[in-house]
Every structure is written in structure tokens, then in C-alpha cells.
Symmetry: C4
Subunit: 359 residues, 4 copies
């Protein structure tokens, strides 16, 4: 995995350092950067680190495993690759590599609608892999409603099993790092599943008004979807509560990896409050700053069924392609198993909030 | 905007770095410095950064805009340039440049009584600009009551629409940075609207006693003023409550940008407490450490109608004159629009405290 | 104590610096490292530092001393050397040196089952020393129950007075620092009291399931043991409460020096909660981050009868062998006496929680 | 004040930097160092900095001044020089310079019993100065009761007006910085008012037992003293309450400048709790970390009548002798006047706890 390395990477942070050496400044600014002063970007990480575990002793671990059940399907490891745009900017194998690695490690994949590989090609590659995790497709509201319907139909036909509707980004965030770097997509990388972007008119607020999904629109999309629809980007408990009656199949607690609105609450802050709000009536997922097996344990303890990994997949992909991503997922699964054992938890599905000190 | 730059500034912080390169040590010490150990100077900034936003999804943004209404007048953007002395020390165009930029961007201007340009000249330049924001004049109590009356009359005649009476500085703060730099006004820059300063006698406390305005004096000034009078420098909720019955038209929650009393409370700390104290009975403005569109959203959420920008205007002015200030204001307006959209807020006037986590 | 030193070490931290110069990178990674990002490793130390003492004046110190009584035996100083594996990797004299130093200073010794010296040899060296502290043996559950019984018999026969059963490590932690260093035991150093390790099968969770001790197994071990049995690795108050009825003689509040599960609670956090849970019904000991006499005072104030020292013994041993460890223990005893005097406490056994501000 | 300076010192911190350049490592270790890891040393400073002022507007400052009344005597400025040993190690003029400076600036002096100048010489120099502050003498319990009585008689005869009995140091703290520096008194500097120290026997705890003053001994000393007796080194509210009935004339809230027991509570933490405990029945003074006029205002707001300055007097003395100390005191008085004016407080004696946010 890279002959020039002194030692192989032993955790996600090592992959971050390796990726920064390999990616050019343009790609690094895009993948690593966040909105504004990147306070939320740092907060996401810091919030998981700040939680303290209160492990138990004397518990039998007979029959312990990490598998979870979600949308009627059981799979080995409560990890999914989060939707990340333009993975071919990180490595020529791009989304294909990510999908193969996830399937090989029993993890799920959420393909970005801004993927740089045709969604049909990705799905065909892993759809029939035994032991793989879920295969989902992420989408934004397009200004053209017909285009949204077409994307959904294509994803359904290709074999995706659920849709993840991103609701927290009616406009792009103020990504100062990208702007300073003068970021541009490199030749040959584009959002191949979408038509070329057209410049909108009016103020930024007016442009946002065209892209925002109100609750009526969300309900209509859920009702019309041939696939279960999850909402991604929920932070407010009242919104989670509202979502209970709009026909969605789950919520992803997310602040878009700190890439949209700087100084939002961290996802580790929001998750338990949202879990309280929905009271188990909807499955919850979470992303943002998860880098360690102990972070996964904490997310499960606070009410998540599984977690999504954004930047770490990019780091491993940029470092070593599919084997890199597979290795990263394996490291995280090992860390998760160790953490579960040391917490005295016999499995992913049996973790209570009492595992968090003061939780 | 400066050929020697690698990239154009993308936020207020970039302008700060650029200004520090351009200004000499004397001017930088004056504009950048604060009182004592500059704890309040840093606190002001840190307090806005520390607030966490709890954005909403599913809200329509139809008809969204950033306009506000204040003292019977609607204007496009809830930003004003705060009163800053001696702007010609930052750029030859000084107060003229600031006024033009504010008017061009639909923002307000509060001219300092220590301006280095005649107040009549500034007013004449922008008074008739369509789409400009408010045009206000700041004043201190002068030892000579006749002089205070004369200044008010001049401001009124020139076309200023309100007076902002600074009440938090009966003596100068202990500005150690200025003293270490041996600060002196450069040739050709002075407070042209005021008579030359005369040295007072007695102890510092006795000198302060001559400049302090007690409530009776404030009431008398408000009653005699031909223009609405706002008080600037209020931090204590009891003082805000007391101000309700003294005939003023609004309050500016301010600690003088950390330039007077070090280790006061930050303005972000004081604002919601003062909002609770006045219960909507007086419009509130706030300054101190506001550098981001998200800071503006937070100030509005905590009860302000608009915010004042102090040091950032100096940075942009020193960097690029009027175009610099206009560009800075445009960056902030864009950040504000993005933040409103991402918070699910359809406009400046419709933000509640629930937007702040724990607020 | 080392001719190349400018000044002799005056506290435990000095020994840390000296040891880092003397040990090779392999040994340093093993002894100094912790699990994951070493957050708990740092937390342990920070938590003792963060506690604030509220000393008393006007108290007589007549008859003051530092002695404590534990398991029916009174000894001079409430300090024990914690079980640390492979001490011969730190110094050729290894466990022998540690044992001699502890006995000479009236401190206790807990020999690791992974000691690099035969347990009989260590016991024979100090068993009959007058004025020594307790002589205990630490053990893990072995996959082979017969082996566990055999170790207990050997320890009993050799003269150990109690067993310390480690219950917080059914698998090894994710020791990233060791993995990065490619840690290997040097030639001639091994766990001489145990059979060579055999690779287990199955997932990490399945391997953990074989090593974990459930409460029934703990009760059985305690019932069968010819020696008092203490549990080491208790952090949860409910587990401490559960331990009251399983026949053990004491608890060691420990997170394995931050070497197993990263981001657990610190031991200074857990100790008072466990003291409340057991209400004096079992003696408590504590380790993790104790480096100062004031830390010892705080541990006693929060409910411990004595404390264990892990890494500091390694630092002193690596620096100067047995004289180093003896000197370190003497420094700590002096610091403890000074702290007791300055707190107005006439002795180790008479410290209440009121000594801790807010405690 | 030192030709090699670029700019004259403008605050106490500047004097610290200047003194460090002038003093040798031996003297610097003694004066600057604290106990252990110097956590309390830093805490003392940080605790004053962390308090936030909530200033008032609209208050008349007519008749404002900084004078205070204490033990039946009114004096200009609520500042005293704290007892510091061996001032001749900082400057040849030593205690004489400190005394002259204090008298010239209307501040008080507490002469250390470990002064390096005869107490009679110091008193004779300033006793008859008009406008000086209080002249007090500090003492420790001596092992020889006759010696204690003799010292008191000498102080009384020389013209000292009160005694300050230090009760927080029955043994020396663990001053690691001094020990690392191998501190020794330079030739010609000694505690000239005391007999040469004799080595005590027994353990540190036994030595402490001989020097500690229990409440009975304190009461006896107070009853026998021809001068008012203040206790220095009180941190616990219960001890302050106990002191109400032992005949003392005041309390100095102090942790010995962080030089005895590391990780005690800061004096800013203890002061308001002690003020609550004594309810105005005894005058309170405070020292530890006071470096700014705002710190003095905070101390007065939290219940102190005056404050003591320890290390700053050494810094100014080492830098420039008596003129340095006088200049430092003048800087602090100016800062105090500015702070009072900006807080809207007409004088030292009329500051309430409401001035502290959350206080």
C-alpha cells in the first residue's frame, strides 16, 4: 500500500496524512475543506472525542457480533460510505473502488448524485455481491421536477435499495478554503449522472428558494418514490418529529460534514436529542467526524443504527484505491469489535445510552 | 484590489491580514488595539463563534430577503458601519470612502464625532443616494454643553437622521498597545468637527466625573434633540430597563470594541439579556467582533435589528479604499443570505432565539 | 544517579524525561503508549490536576503520619507499584529492582502475571523484609482454567498475600503507538510465568468472549482462591455495587492506564462515584495518572485507601534501577507529607471529601 | 528607568519581563517560582482574568475617589505591598525601597519577618510620612515562643500598626523550580530579624506539627498581642467563620502566591465564599495574581477592602528600585481609577458584587 511509506497506516488519521501527500492542492481543498472558518468541521470531530465511555465488566460476550438490521435487511457492520461527490478526483477508480471495498467488507454504500461514475455502472459492479451492505442513492432536489423523477427511476432500475434525500443544502456553503484555492473540477471529472449546471438568477436567497424542499414537497417525493426515502441533514429535534408523519423511512443526522453552514451544532450533539424526539419510531443514521471504532460505539449508544463515513473514504481511496478503502473499513471494524468487547457490549444492537458518562 | 495579492480576499479576516501589511505600526496599534490585555477584544469575537446554530429544514423560502425596518425606514441589509475615529489615517479617502461604500451596498453609516472629515461633506456625498441605509451621527458628551448643542444642530442640518450618544467612555481606556507604540495622530489627520482637546485637571476619576452622563443628563439631551437619540455602550440589563423611560429611540449593545474596559462581558453575552429586559420596547443594535454572516444571523436571533461593523471597515478601507469597503459589505451580505437560507429563515426580521442551540 | 545529569530529578516528571532519553524507541512505545489517540492517557493525568484542594488551617498535626491499614495489615505509605509487564525491558534488574525499592520505602508491590522474572524469585527477595508494604500478584483469566489455578497456587506458595484479578482487558486495546513502532519484545525478555501465547481463532469479539470473566466466573474464582481477591479495572458504579456480593476483598478503580479503551472516563472521575456506590463496604484503590503527592491526597479524599503507580516506576527503573525507584517513592512520600501538612490533615486515614473544592 | 529599554513599562507585565532580564537565575527561581507544577500560581492569575465585569452607565461620579478605611484609618489607595522575603536579593535597596515607594504612593506595606533589612530601620524610614498607607509586620510561628513574643514587641516598638500572622505554611512547599535551580541565598542577604534556622528532626509531618498553629494558639497570640492581629492564608469558609470568635482583626485570603500547596483553590474563587461566611464581620484582604486595576475592582466587588501585591513589587524593585515600585503603584492606581470610572463606580468602598457577571 505505497512503497514509500515507513509504516502502513494503522488508523483513519494515518490515511488522512497519506492522502494529503498524494492529492494536489485543488482536490485537497475540495475534499478537506468546510464552510467558513471550519468550526463545525472541527466540532464534529471534537464532539465524538469529548464523549466519555463508562464501560461494564462481568458481562458475557457469548454470541457477540457487529451486525445490524436496517430497512428489513441484516448486514455485517454498521458502517456505510457517505455520499461524496467526484470520487474520481481522488483516484482514477473513483466510485467503483469505493463500492467494491464497501461490499467486500460488509459495509453499505450511499452513492452521491454528483458521482463521477454512472450510477448504473456502480450498481452493476456490486449489486450481486454476497455479504455486502445496503446500496443506496443520494439525491438533491433538482430545479426540474422531471429530472428528479428520472434519477429516481434510474436508481431504482439499477438496483439501488433506498434513496437518501439531502435537505440541508438549498445553496452551497461559503467554502472559503475552496475559494482561496480557486477550486475547479479537473478535466474528465464531472457529475455524469446530472445535466450540466445552469446558472440561476436572482439573489442567493431567491436561488435557495428554488432549491429548498418544504415539508409538502418532501411528503410528495416520499409518496411517489418506489424506494424507501431517507432524509439527510436533520439537526433540529422538532424537524425530526415533523418527519415522523411525512412517510420517510429514516433520518440521517448530518450537518453535511461541516461543508454548508458553519457553527451549526455538531452531529454528536444533535443525535441524542433527535433520538429522544423520534423515540425509536424511525431508524437514525449519523455522519460527521467519525474516525474511530469508539466513535461508532458512541453513535450507536446515542441512538444511531449505523454511521456514514465521508472524508475517511476519500483519504483511503486517494492513498491506495479500493484496497485502501477496504483496509480502512477493516481497521474500523476491528476497532469497533475491540471497543464493543472492552465496553462489555455483546453487539451493535444492544448498546444503551448508559454507556456514555452523563448520557 | 491590489495587484500584489495572490488571491482576492474572500472574507473579513482576509482584509485584516491585508490591512496589517499596508498600515504602519502607529495606525495599526490605534485601530487594532484594545484596552489592557485585550481580553474583551478577543472575547467579543470568541463569543459569536461559540454560539451554535440549530438550523431548520422543510421551510419555504418564498419571498425571502434581508431587509429590515428601523426608526420608520426600511433598508436592504441589516449592516451599518460603526463610528470609527480618524478614518483618513487608514486611507486618504477616509470617511468619504466609507460613506460611499455603505450607500452603494444598502448599508447604514454612523459617522464618528472624531471623524477626520467634515460631517457636512460626508452627509452631502451620500444623503441623496437611492437605496442607501441610515445616516447617523455619533457624539460624546463635550465638557462644554454649548458645543454639544452646536454639533447636534450641525448634524441635523447636514441631513443626519439620528444621533448615537456614546455613554461608555467618560475616560479613555488603558490602551497599552497604543502606549507601547507611542501612538500619535499623523500630520493632516485630526478630529476636524471638534475643537482641539484641552487637558483636564484633577485625578482621572475627577476628569471622568466631568464627562460622564447621568440619567438626568441623558434625558435632557434626548428631550432637546431634534433627532432620534440612541444610546451606545449599554451592557447591563438594568441600564437597558432604565433607558426605557428616558426618551431614547434605541440602544446599541456595545463594549466599545474592547477599547475601554478590559474584561467586560462580551456583547453576544449581553445582547439576549438586554433583549429580555426591554422586551421589544426599544430597537437594539449590537457591535463587537462581528465578522461573518453567521454572526449577523446570531445577533438577529438574539434580539438585534441590525449590527455595526467597526474594525472590518478599517481593514477593507486600508486595503482598497471605497471599493474595498463595498466589497467587504457585499461579502458579508452574501454570507448573510447563505446563512439565512441554510438556517431555513426566510428573512432578517423573522429569526427567533430558537435558532441558537440552548438559546 | 546518572553522571550526565545537570541536576538530580526532583519529581516524577523529571524521571519521565530521563527515561525517554535512556529507553529505545521500541520499549518507549510500549511503556509510554496508550490506546487509540491516547485521550484517556492524558485525561487520567489532567483529571487529578484539575481537582482543587481546599486546605484547612488551625488543626493540630500531633501524631500525624501517612500509614494505612489494608486487608488487616498496617504499612507506612499508601503507595503500591502497579503491575507492569516486562520490567526487564526497562532495566536488567527488572522486577527484582522494583520489589526491593518498594520494600525499602515501605510501599507495596503488585507483580504482573506478565512479569519477566519468576514470581517465586521476586517474592523470595522481599517476603521477609521488615517494614515492607503488601506483596500481591496480578492475574488475567487464562483460556485454560487449570493454568489459572496453577498460577494462583504458585503465588500463594511463594508468599504473595493477595490476588489482583484484571477484568478490563478481554482483548488488547488498539495500541496505535505500539503498532506504528512495530513493537516486539527484545531477546531475553518474556512473560516467564506463563506458557507461550497461542493465537486464538474467530473474530476479535469471539476471542474476547473466551477471555471475558462474567460475574459467575468472578464469584467462582473468589470462592476458590486461597488468597483475598481484588478486582482491577472497575469504572462503573453499578459494577462496583454488584461486586459487593461476589466475595472479593477490594476494588482497583482503573482504566488500565489508558492502554485498553480510549476515551473512557478518567479514574479520578470514577473514584468518588464508586466510593458512593460501595459506601465503605469494600476497600478501594486507584491508579492512572498519579504523579504527585497532591494526587495521592486527592485520591484518599475521594475514597481510596491507597494508590498504584504504573509508568512512574518504569521511568525511575529505566533511569537508575532500584535506587531510582526508591528515590522516586521517597520523593512521592515527601510530597505526600508536605501536602497532608499543608492541607491540615493529620494523616492518610483521616481525609474527607470536603478537602476537594466542590467535592 | 533603564536606558536600554525601547519603551518605558506601561503595566505590571512589562515590569515582569524587565525583571527577568535583570535578575540572575537563582533569584528569579526564588521570586518567580511556585510549588509543584505551578498550577496554583497560574490559576491565581487566570481566575481574576476570567471574571467578567458588568459595568453601569448613567451614574454620577461626583466626589469619586479610591480611598478606603481599614482598622480605623483612612488611606488613599486600597493597595499594600505583600510580605516578600529577602528583597535585597532583588535590589540593593531592598525593603527600604519598597517602603519608601509605598509611602509615596499612599499604599500600605506588610514587612516580611524574613526581610533582609532590620524591621526598625524600615519603620523609621516611613513611619512619619504624611499620606502613607498602613505599616504592618508579618510573622510566622517560631518554634521558640519567646522569640515570637520578642518579634511582636520589636514590631510594636518600631511603630508597626498591625501584625499579619501567616498560618498556611507549617512546612515549606515542594518548590521544584527552586530545587532545580539549586537555589541559595546570595552572600550578604539573610533574614536579619530572625535567628539562624536550625534543622528540625523527625519526618516532615512531625516538623510541620511543631510549626502549625491550632486555633487555641491563634487565640492566645491574638489575646496577648499589643497590636491588631490579621490571619494570612485563609481559604476555607469554615475557617473564616471559625476565625470570627478568635479575636483577630481581619483575614487575608491567600494561598501564599501559589508557593506552598499546588492545586489549591485560587484566591478569586475563595474570596466571595469567605465574604459570605463572615458577612462583613471582619475586614478581608486578598492577594495572589493581582496585576491590573480591573483585578482590584473585582477583588473589592467580591468583598475585599484592599489587596496585596507580591511578585509585581519584586519585578518593579529589580527593574528600577524605589522609583520602579512607585511607578508600578502609580500605574495600578491609574488603572484602578479608570476601571472605577468605566464601571460607573464612584469609589472603592461602594462596589457591589453585581458588578461581576453572574456574581
Amino acid at each position: 500500500m505505497g512503497g514509500q511509506l515507513n509504516t502502513p497506516p494503522v488508523n483513519a488519521g494515518d490515511y488522512q496524512a497519506l492522502a494529503q501527500e498524494r492529492l494536489d492542492a485543488n482536490a485537497w481543498a475540495y475534499f478537506a475543506g468546510g464552510a467558513g472558518d471550519e468550526i463545525t468541521l472541527r466540532d464534529n470531530r471534537a464532539a465524538w472525542e469529548a464523549l466519555r465511555l463508562l464501560p461494564r465488566i462481568g458481562t458475557s460476550l457469548a454470541g457477540a457480533d457487529t451486525s445490524v438490521e436496517l430497512l428489513g435487511r441484516r448486514w455485517p457492520t454498521p458502517l456505510l460510505l457517505a455520499p461524496v461527490a467526484y470520487l474520481r478526483m481522488a483516484h482514477p477508480d473513483g466510485e467503483r473502488a469505493a463500492a467494491l471495498a464497501a461490499a467486500a467488507q460488509g459495509c453499505g454504500l450511499v452513492l452521491s448524485s454528483q458521482a463521477s461514475t454512472r450510477l448504473e455502472d456502480v450498481a452493476a459492479l456490486v449489486r450481486d455481491e454476497a455479504g455486502r451492505g445496503p446500496l443506496w442513492f443520494q439525491l438533491y432536489r433538482q430545479r426540474d421536477a422531471g429530472l428528479t423523477r428520472e434519477l429516481i427511476t434510474r436508481a431504482h432500475t439499477a438496483g439501488f435499495e433506498a434513496l437518501v434525500l439531502t435537505v440541508d443544502a438549498p445553496v452551497s456553503g461559503a467554502r472559503d478554503r475552496e475559494r482561496r484555492a480557486g477550486f475547479r473540477l479537473p478535466p474528465g471529472v464531472s457529475a455524469v449522472n446530472l445535466p450540466p449546471p445552469s446558472a440561476g438568477g436572482g439573489t442567493l436567497l431567491q436561488q435557495a428558494a428554488e432549491h429548498v424542499l418544504d415539508w409538502a414537497a418532501i411528503e410528495a417525493l416520499a409518496a411517489a418514490s418506489p424506494l424507501p426515502l431517507l432524509l439527510k441533514g436533520v439537526l433540529h429535534p422538532d424537524d425530526a418529529r415533523r418527519a415522523l408523519s411525512c412517510g420517510v423511512a429514516g433520518l440521517v443526522v448530518s450537518n453535511h460534514g461541516g461543508r454548508t453552514l458553519d457553527t451549526t451544532v455538531s452531529t454528536a450533539w444533535a443525535l441524542p436529542r433527535i433520538a429522544d424526539a423520534v423515540g425509536g419510531a424511525l431508524p437514525l443514521l449519523v455522519d460527521g467526524g467519525i474516525r474511530r471504532g469508539t466513535d461508532v460505539v458512541k453513535a450507536l449508544a446515542l441512538g444511531a443504527t449505523a454511521v456514514l463515513l465521508g472524508r475517511p473514504q476519500v483519504w483511503a481511496l486517494a492513498t491506495a484505491g479500493a484496497p485502501g478503502v477496504a483496509h480502512l473499513l477493516r481497521l474500523l471494524r476491528d476497532e469497533l469489535e475491540i471497543a464493543l468487547a472492552l465496553c462489555g457490549c455483546p453487539g451493535s444492537a444492544r448498546i444503551g445510552r448508559g454507556l456514555i458518562a452523563g448520557g
